[in-house]
C-alpha cells in the first residue's frame, strides 16, 4: 500500500482455538447429544461444525424426522426456537439448507441442526406434527425459498399473495421483482378491482396454487 493512502484499519483479533474463545458457552457445547444421535442413527450425522464453541450438526434429510422425534421425546429438546431456509446459490453443492434451533429447557442446552436440500428435489419432512411452532416458519420458508415441507397441514404462502408464482428470496430473483407478477389495483376509479383481499368474507375463495388439506371435522 502506498504511504499516501493513509487508511486506518481497525485491528482484528487473530483467530483463536475454540477452547480459548471468550464467547464460547457451555450451553452450546452439545457433544454428548451428538454422540447420542450417532448411536441411535449411525447414518444421520453427516458433518459437525464447531465455531466459537458452538456445534452445528448437519443431519441427512432421510432420517431427519426420526432424529427430531428422538430429540423431542428422548433427549429433552422440547422447544423449537427458530427455523429458516438459506440459499447457498453457487456457494455450496446442495443449494439450500434449512436450519433448526432447539433448546433443552431442563438441561439448558442449545442445539443447531442443519439439513441440506437439493435444488431439483426441494422437499423436507414437516416437523409441524412434533413442534407446533414450526407451522408458520415452514410456511415462510416455503413462500420465500420454495422448499416444500411434506406433511405440513396447511402449506400456504405466508407473505406473498396466494397466486404469486415465484419465491422471492431465491438468489436469482431480482431485487426489484418481476414486472407484472404482482398486480396493483386499477389506476382509474372505474377500473375493475383485481385480487379480492376479502374473498373469504364474501364466501368466495382466491385462486389457489396448492392442494388444500382435506377437511376433517372429527378433530
Amino acid at each position: 500500500m502506498p504511504d499516501s493512502l493513509n487508511f486506518h484499519f481497525t485491528p482484528v483479533d487473530k483467530a483463536r482455538p475454540d477452547e480459548q474463545n471468550a464467547h464460547a458457552k457451555a450451553s452450546t457445547d452439545v457433544t454428548d447429544v451428538i454422540k447420542a444421535i450417532q448411536e441411535r442413527f449411525p447414518e444421520a450425522v453427516t458433518e459437525v461444525v464447531v465455531y466459537a464453541g458452538e456445534h452445528t450438526v448437519f443431519i441427512a434429510g432421510e432420517v431427519f424426522l426420526n432424529v427430531c422425534t428422538a430429540l423431542k421425546e428422548e433427549l429433552g429438546f422440547t422447544y423449537l426456537v427458530d427455523l429458516a431456509g438459506v440459499d447457498r446459490f453457487q456457494e455450496d453443492a446442495p443449494r439450500y439448507e434449512v436450519y433448526y434451533c432447539f433448546v433443552n429447557l431442563q438441561a439448558g442446552k442449545r442445539l443447531r441442526i442443519k439439513v441440506r436440500v437439493e435444488e431439483d428435489d426441494a422437499v423436507l419432512p414437516s416437523i409441524t406434527g412434533l413442534f407446533k411452532a414450526a407451522d408458520w416458519n415452514e410456511r415462510e420458508c416455503f413462500d420465500m425459498l420454495g422448499i416444500r415441507f411434506e406433511g405440513h397441514p396447511d402449506l400456504r404462502r405466508m407473505f406473498m399473495p396466494e397466486d404469486f408464482t415465484y419465491h422471492p428470496q431465491r438468489k436469482e430473483f431480482p431485487l426489484l421483482g418481476i414486472p407484472g407478477s404482482l398486480p396493483l389495483p386499477p389506476r382509474t376509479p372505474e377500473g375493475e378491482l383485481t385480487m379480492d383481499p376479502f374473498a373469504a368474507a364474501r364466501s368466495g375463495s382466491p385462486a389457489k396454487s396448492y392442494q388444500e388439506p382435506a377437511e376433517n371435522d372429527e378433530n
Partner: protein
C-alpha cells in the same frame, strides 16, 4: 329589529368549505412506524383537536381524509384501495412518510414504490418517520386546499388562492345597512 343583531352574508361554497375543512375526519391507515407518529399527532401533546380532526374514524364510511402512514406492500395495496373506494366523496389523502410517498428505503419487490401508483394523493409528507408537526402541517395544507374548492357553483373559474379569512367570504350586514367585508 334590535340594533345589536345583524345578518351574516356569505356564499354556500364558503360555508361548506369552512365546515369541511374544520372537521376533517381522518381514516388512520397505519401500516408501519409512521402510525406511531400519527398517534402522537392525535394525542394530547400535539392535539389535532385544535384543527377539528381529532375524531379518527376507523370506518371508511365516516371518514373523509385518509392518512396512509407507512410502507404499503402490493398485497396491502388492494385493501387500501378498497377502503379508499368505500370512503364517501369528497375525500382527501395524505401520503405520510417517505415509504408511502415513494417506497422509501424499501426499494424491493414487495413494496409499492409510492401509493400514488394506485390512488390519488393530495399531500405528501417527507420524513422517516415525519414528526407530528409535519403531519399537522400536511393537515393544514389539506384544509387550505378544501377552502379553495368550488363545490356548489360549478361555473366558477378558480381564481388566485385566498387566505383563510378571505375564503370565508364573510360580510356582516348590520341593521343600519352597512356591510363590513373580510372578517367578523
Amino acid at each position: 329589529m334590535d340594533s345589536a343583531t345583524g345578518y351574516l352574508t356569505t356564499t354556500v361554497d364558503a360555508v361548506v368549505n369552512w365546515a369541511r375543512s374544520n372537521s376533517l375526519m381522518p381514516m388512520p391507515m397505519g401500516l408501519a412506524c409512521c402510525a406511531i407518529e400519527m398517534m402522537a399527532f392525535g394525542g394530547p401533546k400535539y392535539d389535532v383537536g385544535r384543527f377539528g380532526s381529532e375524531a379518527m374514524r376507523f370506518s371508511p364510511r365516516q371518514a373523509d381524509l385518509m392518512i396512509v402512514a407507512g410502507w404499503c406492500s402490493y398485497k396491502m395495496a388492494h385493501a387500501i384501495r378498497r377502503v379508499w373506494d368505500q370512503m364517501a366523496d369528497p375525500k382527501w389523502c395524505i401520503a405520510m412518510g417517505a415509504c408511502a410517498s415513494s417506497g422509501g428505503m424499501h426499494r424491493c419487490y414487495g413494496v409499492v414504490q409510492g401509493i400514488d401508483n394506485f390512488m390519488p394523493v393530495d399531500v405528501y409528507i417527507p420524513g422517516c418517520p415525519p414528526r407530528p408537526e409535519a403531519v399537522i402541517h400536511a393537515l393544514m395544507d389539506v384544509q387550505e386546499k378544501v377552502r379553495n374548492e368550488y363545490s356548489v357553483a360549478k361555473d366558477y373559474a378558480s381564481g388566485p388562492k385566498k387566505s383563510a379569512v378571505e375564503s370565508m367570504n364573510l360580510g356582516i350586514l348590520t341593521s343600519d345597512g352597512r356591510t363590513t367585508v373580510g372578517g367578523v
